[in-house]
């Protein structure tokens, strides 16, 4: 809880710092604040988790773990932001503040115990992101991304809300425990049409938010149009939070009536995987490829929800870490390359292996992790997902996933091929110190989680 309070107060502090022109203090204070918030969260690890504030929130281990991931990823991303926002406009403090507001929403999203808070969390996050997507005011792509994201986000909110309303109409409460108990007495033997419709609509709404097919169509454009750093934030932290919220809802409330929604979700999962992977193949822009790959990763993470079990939380947790960290590396390198070459095509990575061996190495690790090669974190994530699905005997789903994993090699290796095996005349990229720290840290996390995942894989 202290985490949330701190993260809510911090952005206000930043806004006022910005007013009083303390620009140099922004980043250190943000990062220190976030780390303190993280520490406060971890300090509650062993505390008994009861629903607090009239059953609105519950800071259980699930919540703390996911808060931890999102805060850490945010810290990493913010460390890349040194000088980034300054190039866009003068309102730097605001950008930091909005990112932190989004993070506050995310913390709510991962620790809600009442649908009200789910809604509030999602919206605090989304509204902040609408702004962030459009911070390049004079760039039409950024404008378009903001508008698209905004309209689609609002649209999906409508579905989510209608779903919540119908569930409320059936159950008479927004409390997760009450809904769970109600679902227990209304299994498929005594079905309730309104309740089930509500679940379906919530799936639609949440799938919009996490960018699962067929509700994904906004994702590529928004990810491409938004400033790269914001895209990094959206595709890592936000996605993680979306899945945490998704999982929390379904694992707490709807396990007993899984036969109702699993077929739908399974279809969505498979569609997401295939659409994400196959379209990613045809991209010429690295950034757009990452956008589609994020769709396909959404598909993998949906596995955990389709095959809901005791381990689902863990699986999503590990997967989210792996995916977030690897994506952060990818986006960090992309930012650097973009600065040099001015575009984000695969060709701009040519010869990077020679000119910047370190950069190429970490990006390779990231790509291997995204592709799910063993000894990287991505493999552990995929392994857990597959085990979960396998435990539920959804073998043909695994087969589809495997085929998709193979397809994904093509596009992840394109950048590796470009970096090492295609040569180009290029000067060495100057890597700021912050970037080095972030890249090295992320690469180390990727490898450690890949080689020895024991210390995070049964946290929750």
């Amino acid at each position: 809880m202290n985490t949330l309070i701190l993260i809510s107060v911090l952005p206000i502090l930043l806004l006022y710092l910005g007013l009083y022109k303390a620009k140099n203090a922004l980043l250190p204070i943000t990062i220190t604040g976030l780390l303190v918030a993280l520490g406060l969260g971890i300090a509650q690890w062993n505390a008994v988790a009861e629903p607090i504030y009239s059953g609105m929130m519950q800071f259980d281990r699930f919540a703390i773990a996911f808060s931890g991931v999102t805060i850490l990823s945010t810290v990493l991303i913010l460390m890349l932001s040194k000088d980034y926002f300054e190039r866009i406009s003068d309102h730097v403090a605001e950008y930091y503040a909005i990112i932190l507001f989004a993070l506050a929403g995310i913390i709510v999203m991962v620790s809600y115990h009442n649908l009200t808070m789910l809604f509030i969390g999602i919206e605090i996050m989304s509204v902040s992101l609408y702004i962030l997507a459009g911070i390049k005011k004079n760039d039409f792509a950024s404008n378009e991304a903001a508008l698209k994201y905004f309209l689609m986000g609002a649209f999906s909110t409508g579905f989510l809300l209608f779903g919540i309303t119908l569930i409320y109409g059936s159950v008479g409460s927004f409390d997760l425990d009450v809904i769970r108990d109600w679902a227990l007495t209304h299994t498929s033997k005594t079905p309730d049409a309104m309740f089930y419709t509500g679940i379906m609509l919530m799936i639609v709404g949440l799938c919009f938010k996490v960018g699962a097919a067929p509700f994904h169509f906004w994702t590529p454009d928004v990810y491409e149009g938004a400033p790269t750093l914001i895209t990094a934030f959206m595709s890592t932290v936000v996605k993680t939070a979306g899945f945490a919220a998704f999982l929390r809802l379904f694992s707490v409330c709807f396990t007993s009536i899984s036969e109702v929604w699993v077929p739908t979700l399974m279809a969505i999962t498979i569609l997401t995987l295939c659409v994400g992977n196959i379209t990613a193949l045809y991209q010429h822009s690295f950034k757009r490829m990452l956008a589609f790959s994020s769709i396909s990763h959404a598909g993998y993470m949906l596995f955990a929800i389709v095959a809901l079990g005791a381990n689902s939380g863990n699986s999503v947790f590990v997967y989210a870490i792996a995916y977030s960290v690897a994506s952060i590396i990818a986006f960090a390198v992309l930012i650097l390359v973009q600065q040099q070459s001015g575009n984000d095509n695969f060709e701009s990575f040519n010869g990077l292996g020679k000119s910047n061996p370190f950069l190429a190495l970490v990006l390779t690790i990231a790509m291997l992790s995204l592709a799910g090669i063993p000894l990287t974190a991505g493999f552990m994530g995929k392994f857990l997902m597959f085990s979960g699905a396998m435990a539920k005997m959804q073998i043909w789903m695994i087969l589809i996933a495997v085929v998709n994993a193979i397809i994904s090699i093509f596009y992840y290796f394109r950048v590796i091929v470009a970096m090492y095996f295609r040569s180009a005349e290029r000067t060495e990229l100057a890597i700021p110190g912050y970037f080095n720290v972030v890249l090295a840290l992320s690469a180390i996390i990727t490898l450690i989680v890949g080689i020895y995942p024991g210390f995070i894989s049964n946290l929750i």
Partner: protein, 496 residues
């Protein structure tokens, strides 16, 4: 003393090599490889040839998922381990005359890293560990081939990577399935052996594993990546691939595929054998038509591996024992052959059979060693190939005489095209190009001597090697047969 020493020594060496950026990298690499060989020699001398697992290591790795760092030596993997530790120093030695570009230390690091991965594959007693090693060995060879390979390397190596990765993902699915079916929730090989699965599930598992191993070996029709990759890779990479890596597939069949899904195996093995035999004939015929020497060797490798596979799928002691020793032999021979072509192409800058000829005249060392290797490959008695192929054919024969006859043609065909190759390269008149060929010296000569010595020694006295694996092989075959009844056309086995 456990096998973890064996696994981690090359890994450490690889890490060390990353930081050695000067000329001495190759010596350091060789030193570590030899040290590794010495270590494995020590293990083998200490090894008691019974069916037990020795020098085992069993460390908790990710215990909450039942994943253990569990490895050890037994009769099944001792020969692959031997060949792996034996071939790596030889392969490193073959590179001494090469000038790989400035990052040669990375090259050697990748080789040693790959060795470590392969040793994991061979020694693993935990399915998860096995899979990790399997993939870990793949990444370095991809980079070796793609960074130091020929013209078309990018496309070819990606194809290779995706093929093998695809296969292994299916294997991963099968492994996870086994894991979820295991009441003990571990990946322990012995627990998995003991599972009682439905025939249908076993069928799935059989094909999933088969795909992975068939691609790796490769068995027809999953071989299409192989000739291109072998041709485009740098010689050392080709040697690693053909000499050691494809043994991972063969080893996997013996260790994982058949014991994990005995009933699936019992149901589907005729297809597997048929594919193998088709591959033998197919590859032999293609090999005939090859102009490029390296490519010819690549196809001949498919043919030989097909025979090994066929014998394994026949699943009797002779066949599997033959496979064991032939793994080693094939490694030695094929490394020798690729080295021959490495030397030729380095000195003459061509591998086209039509442009060569008469090299034997002024390079006796080269001619003699090439001849010995060729003879070993065509399985002349008293060379190493003979004993292996004999046992293999014997194994197939027990299964089905007609198939054995078809498979046996490989020896004849192999003899023909190998000798034709030798002839067109070494004999006949010299031309403008081949007149410039100088005899092998120094490290090249050393490699050739070692290889020829191995060919002859094993050819004359294979018994100690066969003895190493015999107990375990018998034990494993019994284990499977207990579950399924004797495999295949039992009636065809004559009473001894």
């Amino acid at each position: 003393m456990t096998v973890s020493l064996l696994i981690f020594l090359p890994l450490l060496a690889a890490l060390a090599l990353v930081f050695i950026k000067n000329e001495s990298a190759k010596y350091v690499a060789l030193f570590f490889a030899v040290a590794e060989l010495a270590l494995s020699a020590y293990f083998i001398t200490q090894y008691h040839p019974d069916a037990s697992v020795q020098f085992a290591v069993d460390q908790a790795w990710i215990p909450q998922f039942g994943i253990y760092f569990s490895a050890g030596l037994d009769g099944i993997n001792i020969i692959p381990v031997l060949l792996c530790t034996l071939m790596v120093p030889i392969i490193i030695l073959t590179t001494f005359k090469h000038e790989y570009n400035t990052n040669s230390n990375i090259f050697y690091a990748l080789i040693l890293f790959m060795q470590s991965g392969m040793l994991v594959v061979f020694t693993a007693l935990d399915a998860f560990l096995f899979y990790v090693g399997w993939e870990a060995a793949l990444i370095p060879i991809y980079f070796i081939s793609a960074l130091w390979g020929g013209e078309n390397r990018i496309k070819v190596t990606l194809k290779f990577f995706i093929y093998t990765f695809a296969g292994s993902l299916f294997m991963l699915a099968a492994i996870i399935y086994l894991y979820t079916q295991n009441p003990g929730k571990t990946f322990d090989i012995h627990e998995l052996y003991g599972l009682l699965l439905t025939p249908k599930a076993q069928g799935w598992i059989f094909w999933a594993f088969f795909l992975a191993f068939a691609i790796k070996m490769p068995i027809f029709p999953f071989h299409t990546w192989q000739p291109d990759t072998y041709t485009e890779s740098p010689s050392a990479g080709t040697m690693m691939l053909s000499g050691i890596m494809l043994k991972m597939g063969i080893f996997g069949v013996i260790r994982w595929l058949i014991p994990m899904a005995p009933q699936g195996f019992n149901e589907y093995y005729p297809y597997a054998i048929t594919l193998s035999v088709v591959g033998i004939v197919y590859a032999s015929i293609i090999a005939f038509r090859q102009k490029d020497g390296k490519r010819l060797v690549a196809y001949s490798s498919i043919a030989h591996v097909g025979l090994i596979a066929a014998a394994i799928f026949a699943w009797n002691v002779n066949g599997v024992q033959g496979a064991m020793i032939q793994m080693l032999n094939h490694a030695i021979n094929v490394v020798g052959l690729f080295f021959v072509w490495d030397i030729i192409s380095r000195k003459l800058n061509t591998r086209d059979l039509g442009q060569l000829g008469g090299i034997a005249k002024n390079s006796p060392w080269f001619a003699v060693s090439f001849l010995i290797i060729t003879l070993g490959t065509v399985a002349l008695p008293l060379t190493n190939g003979f004993i292996g192929e004999f046992l293999l054919l014997n194994g197939v024969y027990y299964y089905n005489i007609r198939l054995a006859v078809v498979a046996g043609t490989t020896i004849i065909l192999g003899g023909v095209y190998m000798l034709r190759m030798y002839k067109s390269v070494m004999q006949g008149p010299t031309n403008d190009l081949t007149i410039t060929f100088t005899d092998i010296t120094g490290s090249e000569r050393l490699v050739m001597v070692i290889i020829c010595a191995l060919i002859i020694v094993i050819g004359i006295y294979p018994q100690p090697i066969l003895h190493l694996s015999e107990a375990s092989v018998t034990n494993l075959i019994d284990l499977v047969n207990k579950k399924t009844g004797p495999i295949g056309a039992v009636s065809a086995i004559p009473a001894h």
